[in-house]
């Protein structure tokens, strides 16, 4: 049987990994996703299963107990998982970004301290830039760390922490103006701190509070929280990479691979929406024939499939570019932009195919319809992606003379 969104040139191991994940998704995620989502319940059994499988260590290098797989393998795994339920891929995404930031920018001590435990899923990562007053405009953050002897004292409020409650290691971006030279740019006045904490809500360690979950339209099950620092004391060893002033660049690097991840998620969600639409269109009969035989519906299916395929190939291309060691900000931005916009359109088309039933909570497409918009916002809004793309274009196509 031909299937959409296939990837050429995968190794046998990559294929076996994807097959295992797909089986897991079909048997353990899809059958329970709707009920868990409606109850806004954390998918503990699913997360435990993925932990056992080794998903949390997929990209962590072998010397730290992981599998050392590529960004492409990771993205394709995320795509499969999001096909089952986007929230589950959200549980993994922040973990992966923090692990990636540690791999790229951490000191050897920090890597030794965290990566082996992250590879097993014992330590689970989250990261935090946004605040109540700013998101995409990262330089507008106000949370601050002030040095006090060998320690730093952190104060401020963070917002939109995916896995804020369930994670045990949070990478937090704060201002450290006191550590920068006079006249430095704002981008050199930001530092990433690594905060270890127990999971849960309330004051989880002295000076650090995770208030309750933020109620959301979709993307349920996974806990999205605020984070409040009130004279939180950390050591200088908790600075990612050991040196203050590099936080902005570290975060941007993390978000860049996160973008491929969000693109992959959008691909998975769109694939599922297509599967549901094409299935329903062959079951539902109107005017004496299955609605798939009405041209209006058939054309819709054709559009959906074309978008699913295009988004997938673009996502794969951007992941491969990063894996080859090249800069991929342009491609990642394009992939994230295209995949999330197409995802919204494919989901809406599938929703229309479902007619009245699509509006019923009994049908999976209702959930997808509430989930798709998150992808247009998270990890850089569509408009931010367009800014990134345009900026790169004007660099590469700069008029001479």
């Amino acid at each position: 049987m031909g299937r959409l969104a296939q990837t050429d040139g995968l190794t046998e191991e990559q294929q076996a990994i994807l097959e295992a994940v797909r089986d897991f998704v079909d048997n353990e995620i899809i059958p329970v996703a709707n009920d868990l989502e409606h109850a806004d319940e954390y998918p503990q059994a699913i997360v435990d299963g993925l932990k056992e499988m080794g998903v949390f260590g997929l990209m962590i290098p072998e010397e730290y107990g992981g599998l050392g797989e590529s960004l492409l393998t990771y993205a394709l795994v995320v795509e499969e998982i999001a096909r089952g339920w986007m929230s589950v891929s959200g549980v993994i995404n922040t973990h992966f970004i923090v692990a990636y930031m540690l791999m790229q920018h951490g000191t050897e001590e920090q890597k030794q301290k965290y990566l082996p435990r992250m590879a097993t899923g014992e330590v689970r990562g989250a990261f935090s830039m946004s605040e109540p007053g700013c998101g995409s405009d990262v330089a507008a953050i106000t949370s601050k760390a002030v040095r006090d002897g060998d320690e730093y004292v952190l104060n401020g409020q963070k917002m939109w922490l995916t896995n804020g409650g369930s994670s045990t290691l949070v990478a937090v971006l704060v201002l450290t103006p006191g550590e920068a030279e006079e006249g430095s740019s704002i981008y050199r006045k930001m530092t990433t701190f690594l905060i270890e904490k127990p999971s849960g809500f309330g004051e989880v360690r002295p000076g650090l509070t995770i208030p309750g979950k933020i109620e959301k339209m979709g993307y349920k099950g996974v806990d999205t929280t605020e984070l409040v620092m009130d004279d939180l004391r950390l050591s200088a060893d908790d600075i990612l990479g050991g040196t203050p002033g590099k936080g902005f660049y570290q975060m941007m690097d993390g978000v860049e691979v996160g973008r491929v991840n969000v693109a992959a998620r959008a691909c998975g969600l769109a694939e599922r929406a297509f599967e549901l639409g094409v299935e329903y269109a062959q079951q539902r009969v109107t005017f004496g024939k299955p609605i798939a035989e009405h041209q209006a519906v058939a054309f819709r299916l054709a559009d959906m499939a074309t978008k699913v395929e295009a988004a997938h190939q673009m996502m794969v291309m951007s992941a491969r570019k990063k894996d080859s060691g090249e800069r991929n900000d342009l491609e990642a931005g394009m992939a994230k932009y295209l995949a999330s916009e197409y995802c919204k359109e494919v989901v809406e088309d599938s929703f229309r195919i479902h007619g009245g039933y699509g509006y019923s909570k009994e049908y999976e497409i209702e959930r997808l319809y509430r989930e798709a918009p998150m992808l247009m916002i998270g990890e850089g809004t569509a408009d931010i992606q367009r800014m990134i793309i345009a900026r790169r274009l004007l660099e590469d196509y700069k008029t001479r003379g």
């Binding site: 076996a16 990994i17 097959e19 295992a20 499988m53 080794g54 599998l67």
Partner: protein, 259 residues
């Protein structure tokens, strides 16, 4: 202990299965090949026994080249080694020939148990385990929903229509398992990576000391003379309720001998 688990690659459970024009054999190319579902339970049971008692699990499969994928999958679940019997002469083998091949492949290798899934989703005969036991001269304990091993004996709960029987036999023995027995694990990513380094012995019919003429379509005790596609589902009868709907439904059910 040393356990052999026999696995078979079958067409994807949900795929439409077709016979080939010409030789009337199952068209294995038309659908994705997957491990026969019940064989996953057999692998799982062997792994659990080894985890409890120590030892080694060897996967045995007879099938075309691509059946190697199924052997590899069982290895990625945690089995230690594989034996894959590949031979063009095997095409069209019936259960009797298959049992001869498997018996030859496992005999003389100090296995304590040979474990099978109780049936395959493509042939669904459930006879190969019994035939292999007969050929080896070992006890057969089939349709197991629970297995325990102690003091050289194997004790199973054999699933029956009315409940279960407890059956004990001395090892070596042949076991077949039903899906109630356990919950097969998913291969872990580490297991997948490790599987590629595990030894798989690919052998031909002649290596087993069997004649090519003893297996395959020519040696089969049954032959397919003709076949036809399943007819499309007939349109149902619409019963209009004119106050006598209940009677009409009851009449229909009685005609079909449901009541």
């Amino acid at each position: 202990m040393k356990i052999a688990v026999c696995v078979k690659q079958v067409p994807d459970t949900w795929a439409e299965k077709k016979l080939r024009e010409g030789d009337a054999l199952l068209d294995r190319e038309s659908a994705d090949g997957v491990m026969n579902e019940l064989d996953e339970y057999a692998v799982e049971e062997a792994l659990q026994l080894i985890e409890a008692h120590g030892g080694e699990v060897v996967i045995v499969s007879m099938g075309p080249d691509r059946a190697a994928e199924t052997v590899r999958k069982a290895l990625s679940m945690g089995a230690d080694a594989g034996i894959h019997v590949v031979d063009d002469s095997l095409a069209g083998s019936d259960a009797i020939a298959t049992s001869a091949v498997i018996a030859k492949a496992v005999e003389g290798k100090d296995f304590d148990l040979v474990i099978f899934g109780s049936e395959s989703t493509d042939a669904r005969m459930s006879v190969v385990p019994a035939m292999v036991a007969e050929r080896l001269g070992w006890a057969q304990v089939t349709f197991a929903q629970k297995v325990e091993v102690a003091g050289g004996d194997i004790t199973i709960e054999r699933a029956t229509e009315n409940g279960s029987d407890t059956v004990t036999a001395a090892m070596p023995a042949v076991v077949s398992v039903v899906e109630k027995i356990n919950e097969p694990r998913y291969p872990s990513f580490k297991g997948i990576m490790a599987a590629k380094k595990k030894p798989v012995d690919t052998i031909a019919v002649a290596d087993l000391g069997l004649e090519a003429a003893a297996v395959g379509t020519g040696a089969a005790w049954s032959a397919v003379n003709d076949f036809a596609a399943r007819p499309p589902k007939a349109a149902g009868t619409v019963v209009t309720d004119e106050g006598d709907g209940g009677v009409k439904v009851a009449t229909f059910l009685a005609e079909q001998k449901f009541i």
